[in-house]
Symmetry: C2
Subunit: 409 residues, 2 copies
C-alpha cells in the first residue's frame, strides 16, 4: 500500500451517502468540515504549515530550511467539495495526489528553491450557493465579497451565515493580491470528466483550454388551470414549450458537437391536477468556441420562443453567468506534456480541452501561470457515483505531479 492508498482510504468515507453511494460535501457543511480536518491533520503529520486564507481556501506550506518564505511558490492541489451525489474523485483526487507527490518528492531528496504548497480551494462546485469556484474567484477578485456574502444557499442560510457558523470571519473576503503575488505557478490535477483519455488509451493528459460556458435561466409562463376540465385547445401550458426546448437543445448541441443540458427545473404550482403557470428551467451550454456557443444559444432561444408562441405562452431568457474560452499557457502546457511523456518513457501524452470549469481556469484568467493534468476515468462519467479512476492511473497521476515538483520547484 502506497502513501496514496492510505490517504485515499482516510478521505473516502467522509460525506458518502449510504443509499446513493454519492458524495454530499457542500461548502462549510459537516462533511466538508471533516474533509478540512483531514487536510489539516494530513498536513500537520508532514510538518507542513496549515493556513486558512481570508477566502476560506486551505493551504499546506512546505518551506524547507534555507528557503525564503517570500520566494515564488509552486502550488499544487484541487478542491474537496462535491456536487449533490457526486463521485469520489472530482476534487479530492487532486488534493490526495498532491500530498502523495510531495511525499514522494521529499522522499527522493528534493531541494526546492522556493516554497511548495498544497491547496484545497473552497466551494469549487458551487453546490450550496450556486456560484462555482467561489474560493478562487474571491481570491482573484472575480467575485465581489458583498455578492458572495449575500448568496443564499439551498438551506436558506447566506454564505456569510454559513461562514460565521463555522467560525470563519466573512468580513475578510475579497481579492488577495499578496497571496497571488506569491504563486509562481499552479498545477491542478483532476479526474477526466469525459472519454478522451479512454479513446487515446492514456493514463494522463494535459489541458489545452476550458470551453466557453453559459448558464441561462429560461422562464416559461402560461396560465394555471384545471388539468381535468380545461380542453387541450384552450390551454396555455408552459410545459409544452419547455419540452420542445429540451429537444431543440439536444438536437442543436449534437449538430455542433457542443453540450446543452436542462438539468434543473422549478414548476409552479407543481400539482398533479394543475396545468403549470410557470416552468423555470436552467440551460447549461458549452461549446469549443464562442461563435459556436452563441449560434447554438440563438437556435435554442428561437425554438423556445416559437414553441411558446404556438400555445400563447411566453418565455424569457436570462444569462445567469457566462465565461469566455480560457486557453492555458501554451508553453507551460507543452513543457508539462514533454516532461510527463519522458517520465513515462513514451513519445507524447494527450493534450485535451475540457468542458468543465476549474479553479485552475480562474487563476489562469487572473494571470497566474497555470496548468492542469487529467487522469483517465474508465466510465467517462463524472458528477455521479459512477465516476472512477483505476489505481494504476491514479499512481501515474502522482508520478506526473512528482515530476512537476522535481522540474519546477
Amino acid at each position: 500500500m502506497t502513501g496514496f492508498d492510505t490517504l485515499w482510504a482516510e478521505l473516502e468515507p467522509i460525506g458518502r451517502h449510504a443509499s446513493t453511494g454519492g458524495y454530499r460535501r457542500y461548502a462549510y457543511d459537516q462533511a466538508e468540515l471533516e474533509c478540512r480536518e483531514w487536510f489539516t491533520s494530513t498536513a500537520q503529520a508532514r510538518g507542513l504549515d496549515v493556513e486558512v486564507d481570508r477566502n476560506g481556501n486551505l493551504w499546506a506550506w512546505w518551506i524547507p530550511p534555507g528557503v525564503s518564505a517570500e520566494a515564488p511558490a509552486l502550488v499544487i492541489g484541487s478542491h474537496l467539495d462535491s456536487v449533490p451525489d457526486g463521485g469520489a474523485f472530482d476534487g479530492p483526487l487532486g488534493v490526495v495526489s498532491s500530498f502523495a507527490a510531495l511525499d514522494a518528492a521529499r522522499g527522493g531528496g528534493l531541494a526546492p528553491v522556493g516554497p511548495i504548497a498544497v491547496v484545497a480551494f473552497a466551494d469549487e462546485e458551487g453546490a450550496r450557493f450556486g456560484i462555482a469556484c467561489a474560493g478562487s474567484r474571491l481570491m482573484t477578485g472575480q467575485l465581489h465579497p458583498d455578492k458572495a456574502r449575500a448568496l443564499v444557499g439551498r438551506d436558506g442560510a447566506t454564505m456569510a451565515e454559513a461562514m460565521d457558523a463555522v467560525g470563519h470571519d466573512s468580513s475578510g473576503l475579497g481579492r488577495d493580491d499578496e497571496r497571488m503575488a506569491r504563486i509562481a505557478m499552479y498545477v491542478e490535477l483532476h479526474v477526466e470528466q469525459g472519454r478522451s483519455l479512454i479513446d487515446q488509451q492514456a493514463s494522463v493528459g494535459v489541458a489545452t483550454s476550458i470551453w466557453p460556458h453559459g448558464r441561462y435561466r429560461f422562464t416559461f409562463r402560461g396560465v394555471a388551470d384545471h388539468a381535468g376540465t380545461t380542453r387541450m385547445e384552450d390551454r396555455h401550458d408552459p410545459m409544452i414549450a419547455f419540452a420542445r426546448t429540451v429537444l431543440s437543445a439536444d438536437a442543436s448541441a449534437r449538430l455542433s458537437e457542443s453540450r446543452a443540458t436542462f438539468g434543473r427545473l422549478e414548476v409552479e404550482p407543481n400539482g398533479t391536477n394543475a396545468i403549470p403557470s410557470v416552468v423555470r428551467a436552467w440551460l447549461d451550454a458549452r461549446a469549443r468556441d464562442q461563435g459556436v456557443l452563441d449560434e447554438m444559444l440563438e437556435r435554442i432561444t428561437a425554438d423556445a420562443a416559437s414553441g411558446a408562441l404556438a400555445n400563447g405562452t411566453q418565455v424569457d431568457v436570462t444569462a445567469e453567468s457566462v465565461s469566455g474560452i480560457l486557453e492555458f499557457d501554451e508553453d507551460l502546457r507543452d513543457r508539462l506534456a514533454r516532461l510527463i511523456a519522458s517520465e513515462q518513457g513514451v513519445d507524447t501524452i494527450p493534450v485535451l480541452p475540457t468542458g468543465a470549469g476549474h479553479d485552475a481556469g480562474i487563476l489562469s484568467a487572473a494571470g497566474i501561470h497555470t496548468a492542469m493534468i487529467f487522469v483517465r476515468n474508465p466510465t467517462g462519467v463524472s458528477h455521479s457515483p459512477h465516476e472512477h479512476a483505476e489505481r494504476d492511473d491514479c499512481l501515474a497521476g502522482v508520478e506526473a505531479l512528482t515530476a512537476v515538483l522535481r522540474e519546477f520547484a
Copy 2:
C-alpha cells in the same frame, strides 16, 4: 347587497396570497382553520347546529321544531379548501350559496319534512396530502383510515399529526354508516371548470357524469453526469425521454378530445451542471369513457418507452389512482334540470359532463342520491386566480339551490 354578497365578502380575504392573488387553503392549515371558523360563526348566527364529524367534515344542521332529527336529511354544500394558488370560487361558492339558499328558503317560509344540512367536506383538493376528496372518501369507506393517517403532507407532517395539531382526534377516522344513512340526497353547487356554459349561454347547468380519471407516476431513470464534459452521444439523460412524453401526451389528448397533463415534476439531483439521474413526472389523464382513456394511456406509455429506449434510459409507469366513470342518477338530474329551467322561465338548461372529481361523485359512488349544479365561469379557467363567476350567475345558482330546497326538503 344580498346575503350572498355579505357571506362572500367575509370569506374572500382568507388565505389569499398577496403576490399571486391565488388562494392557499390547505387541509388543517391556518387559512383553512379560519375558513372553518367562518363556517361555524355563519351557522351559529343562523341558529344552526354545528358539528364536526369523525372525518373532519363540517355540518350545519337546521332541524325545525316538530321535525325529527332522525328523518332523512337534504344536504347541500361543497368544500372550503383550495389547490396551491387556486381561485376563490372552486368550493367556497357552493358553501356560500348553500347558506344563502337556506336563508332564502327559510325567509320564504319553508317548512321541511326533514332536516336540512349545509356541509363543507374536508380536504377536497388533496393539495396537502395528495389524495383528493379525503373527507368524503373516509366517510364513505373509500379511503382506509390507516392509509389516511399515514399520508405525508408537503410540509412533512402526516395527516394524523396535522389533525392532532388542531385538536381533531384522528383515531375516529373511517366509514360512517350512521351518517350516510341520514342523507336522503346531496346536491353540490360548484363553479364550472370549463367553457360549456359559456358556449351554451347559460348561467347554470346540471352534471351528467364525471369522466374516468387516472394519475400515473412516470419515473424516467438515466445516469447522472457532468453537463459540461459529457458528449451528447454518451449521455443517458432522462429529461429527453420526458420531453418526448410531454409532447406525446399533448398530441394524444388532442386526438381523442381527452385531457393529459404533466403538471408535477421532481428532478434529481436538480443541479444546473448535472445531467439528471431521475425525472419523476405525474400524468393526469381523463377521457369521456374508459376505452378512450385506456387507449390514450397506452399510446403515451409506448411513446415514453420508445423515447427512453432511444438513449438508453428507462421508464416505469405506476398508476397512483384510477377512478372509473361516474354517472349521476339520471332521473334526479332530469328532475333538477326541469325544476331549475321552470324557475328561470326557460325551456331547458344545459346538462354536461365534467372532467373534475368532486365529493358529489364520491357520495354517488357510495349509493347516495346525488346531483350537481354548475355555475358559469366566464374565463373557463379554474385552479387559478383567473377562475371567476359573475355576481348575476352566482345569484342564479343561489336561486337554483333555493328551488331544490323548496322541492325536495
